[in-house]
Symmetry: C2
Subunit: 154 residues, 2 copies
């Protein structure tokens, strides 16, 4: 067992120059020694996004809102989530999604996602596909046709 | 995607006659169609426990405290968790654990656990082992020697 108080969570800061805007991730799973799923607190600054629009072939994802109001975008559908609301994204559902903080205060969500040995992450708005082998150190990026391509996060 | 507001979570009430005392579980994963991990809000009444002392051979578990103070017991170690604190239990860590609400108000935690195809759950204080095959409808209970035995939850 590991007790993971907020001060023990492993902080990862996403800079203001990021394509998704500034945010902070507080890793619980890594601080607690878990490997089967990732779990973290995501703190989005006003105007920031959680990621580019994407969907996972092999990994279930869940978001639970702790503080503030968060907009979840899936395809062309936009839904405002409040504290206590959750959104789930099943592996293989082929519609891209992301979170956006359209409020004027920071928001906090708890995010959980399975760790599949191999995953394919599609970015329909960016003509990109990410091949993720957990056994390899780096992701492999291609365009939609499978040709080598740049990482859309820059 | 599924939006799972509190009213859409699937409620499961544990009765006052339960060996662990009354509690309520609000399933997010089932309401949202996820299969790779279970996720639920656990509301423990004062004096209630989350489960008998146990550990999982194959499934990572995590608890995140949303409201109230919760005591986590692992082996002979007792730790008081506050809102914003988490506890993680790695698959195969052979020390039993459970949560207990020793406060005078209901507590709320978000609980996440992987869904392994096969798991073995050990109950060291009760001389019981639970064999869980997700492909089968029922768990199989034995004592510590592997002989058929009763379900300690009654």
């Amino acid at each position: 067992m590991a007790i993971v108080t907020p001060g023990k969570m492993i902080a990862e800061d996403i800079s203001e120059e990021s394509v998704c805007g500034p945010s902070r991730v507080l890793w619980i799973s890594e601080a607690g020694g878990l490997t089967q799923f990732g779990a973290f607190i995501e703190i989005l600054s006003p105007g920031s996004r959680s990621s580019l629009k994407h969907w996972h072939k092999s990994e279930d994802e869940m978001v639970y809102v702790l503080e503030g109001t968060v907009t979840v975008i899936e395809g062309d559908t936009e839904t405002l989530l409040h504290p206590g609301d959750a959104a789930t994204f099943g592996a293989g559902e082929p519609t891209g999604h992301f979170l956006e903080n359209r409020s004027d205060a920071p928001t906090r969500c708890l995010v959980v996602g399975t760790r599949a040995p191999v995953d394919v992450i599609s970015y329909p708005d960016h003509n990109r596909v990410c091949l993720r082998y957990r056994s390899l150190p780096d992701d492999v990026w291609t365009d939609g046709r499978g040709d080598p391509a740049s990482n859309p996060y820059g």
